[in-house]
Symmetry: none
Subunit: 218 residues, 4 copies
DNA sequence: TATGAATGAGCTTTCATTCAT
DNA sequence: GATGAATGAAAGCTCATTCAT
């Protein structure tokens, strides 16, 4: 019977609808969004949400998971064995910047302005998926670095994993700071002796990548 | 009148007492700490707190300000014109790591595990002070970099301000990640192909500094 | 049609299955048990339960009815015209105590730990059956008392029905108190001047019966 | 300063107001009453209730405590050393019946139609008080029985404590049954062979007392 | 007959902030 | 200045029951 299959499809669609609604609401209100708002946005009863997700936390992280998937897809698409390790890294860097530009709310969820508060209550299954996805992303970078070392382009004294984490974390840190400052500048440019307006935030990211790449180079 | 002055001193002392209490309580409970707990710790009535601080948010950021001051003092003490620019940067890096080790709760407040929305409600005066302190810190680094460029040690094509922000933000990102992972590892080591246990978190920071320094070098 | 009959038998079996499941679940969780747990225990869908019972309340009282039937059967088995009225009463008392010991969860349902408001929602048909069963039980006792009065063993000034109710209710009250105290002692022994540990709860029941029997005696 | 004292008086008055309101609401809705209804009845904000009582459960039992106190006072007033033990017991029995008539809602709370569900969450302090009050009541009865045994009026083979519990519990059981039947007859009179209308419920209580007293008598 | 997805009312407790004293 | 009693908004989750299939 296709009927069973159809039911399954309907359920998946409903789940997706809820995620769509949650995405919208979490984006504008953060984790503090009210469940009733999400239900309303999804045009469902509050109770229905709980048929698909065990808790608000699970729902939040499921949305986040989708965000990770988008980035992973971008990396996959950009994956090209014909590129040199340096070009590969530059590609990932560019993709990450695009993701930052085009999926800012996801970037924010990823960069956990709110996670530590929330993490405690998420179901292990979801955390596991999260971890798998993160691993996938880092692996792209790690492989490029390994190749670079192997080909003698990068310093042979580097631990490729350490280098990966440093690269990723530094770039993420920069993006995070850019995001923070665009929306809500903590250190306003004019407070520094030379006006920080001279600090083009988009350039900052490139500079950061270049510095690190140069640091990696043999 | 010395009396007026004494009154002022008493007020300042009371303010400091409240900050002491708040520090203790915010450290253990984060921003979710209850104001009544702070009041109790300060041996004052809840209402009294409001005679010295406009809101819980202001109080939180005032504590945070103290944390910034500690770091600033460390930088001041470490300031030494006889050092080369590279040695200066390394010194600041080391001081920052010490701060991270010895004043972790302050570091966390600074790097906002806490909800960014907290920021929305803080009085401008406090944000202004915050900004001034941050500027002070960055200036130490910026000056070293400027000297380095001037002395031909660092790339002359660098905007010293940009370089400062990149350096600072990257290192902060690494420390933040280290802190996050010590307490609540997101990407568990065993998930990466090579065990990440091989990634010594303390080394990570040094590697990060070295990569960036190498990137800066002429 | 034997087929029609078979269908009927199947329905009755299904009903019994549900009651079995409900019994198990109500015993362990009381009226607060979830209908979904009962459905799961019965290996049926929640909706199916409603094809056999009008409401959770009805289901609860149907289980209770079964409990009453067990007691009635015990009384029937113990019914023996060759016994003297006093011996008959003592037999019933003993049977009641056995029931209390061996079917505690039923006893509790009968004596309504559960909220009396549950009753409000039960269908009249079920309440009627409940009433018939109760009457059956009391009639055993009432007949013995009548015979006792008739034979001059018991006071002739007694209304046998009143006496029946008094006897039954008093014994039930004692058992209820025993049950309550075993599980959740309200007046802890040590609070009374002489330690109530000296009050053997099992003896209490016998004493109660003896006092009442002595009171009945001519 | 009488000021401190006045503040204390005001607080006590407020507490009493809340208890009054809670009493009214619990009487009509049972424990399922909504806290907001109680607050409204007391003309206070919901939060204020929690300044005086730790939980709904505590509030419920505090009301119950008042109910016990009323009964205790009735017993105290009725206490008269010039009465014979039998007259004393009869007095207590009468007082209990009056309490039942005049303070039915308290009787119901006492007889725990809802306790076992609730007990778990009450603060120990309140449970302790409850226990003390109960002990007080039983002691009145126990003393009379002891005297009766001592004076040779009651059977010397009786454990006075056991007898007390039997007497009290039986009478309570009868009253409980009367209450249940008045409001919501489980075994409707007409169901018994002889109409139970002949069973005057008020007489039942007296009969019960007489049977038990006769049972006690030497 | 059987299903099980959907519903949506229902409710306690916390805590920052105020303000009368 | 200091108090602390009073406020009242705010929100996640459950579960009996229904009804379209």
């Amino acid at each position: 019977m296709g009927s069973q299959e159809r039911i399954k499809r309907v359920k998946e669609q409903r789940r997706a609808d809820i995620l769509d609604a949650a995405e919208k609401v979490f984006f504008s209100r953060g984790f503090d969004a009210k469940l009733s708002d999400i239900a309303e946005q999804a045009e469902l009863a509050k109770g229905t949400i709980y048929l698909y997700f065990n808790s608000k936390e699970d729902l939040y992280f499921s949305v986040l998971l989708r965000g990770l998937d988008i980035l992973a897809e971008m990396f996959e698409k950009a994956f090209d064995t014909t590129l040199s390790p340096v070009e590969q890294l530059r590609t990932y860097s560019t993709e990450y910047a695009s993701y930052f530009r085009e999926h800012r709310p996801f970037f924010r969820m990823l960069y956990r302005y709110e996670h530590p508060r929330i993490r405690t209550q998420v179901s292990p299954a979801i955390l596991h998926q999260l971890s798998r996805r993160s691993k996938g992303l880092l692996t792209f970078v790690a492989n490029a670095i390994k190749r670079g070392i192997h080909e003698g382009l990068f310093r042979s004294d580097l631990d490729p994993l350490q280098a990966t984490v440093v690269l990723w974390t530094s770039l993420s840190g920069i993006l995070r700071e850019i995001d923070l400052n665009e929306n809500d500048p903590l250190w306003s440019p004019s407070d520094l002796q030379a006006p920080l307006s001279s600090v083009n935030l988009e350039e900052l990211y490139n500079l950061s990548f270049d510095l690190l790449l140069r640091g990696l180079s043999a």
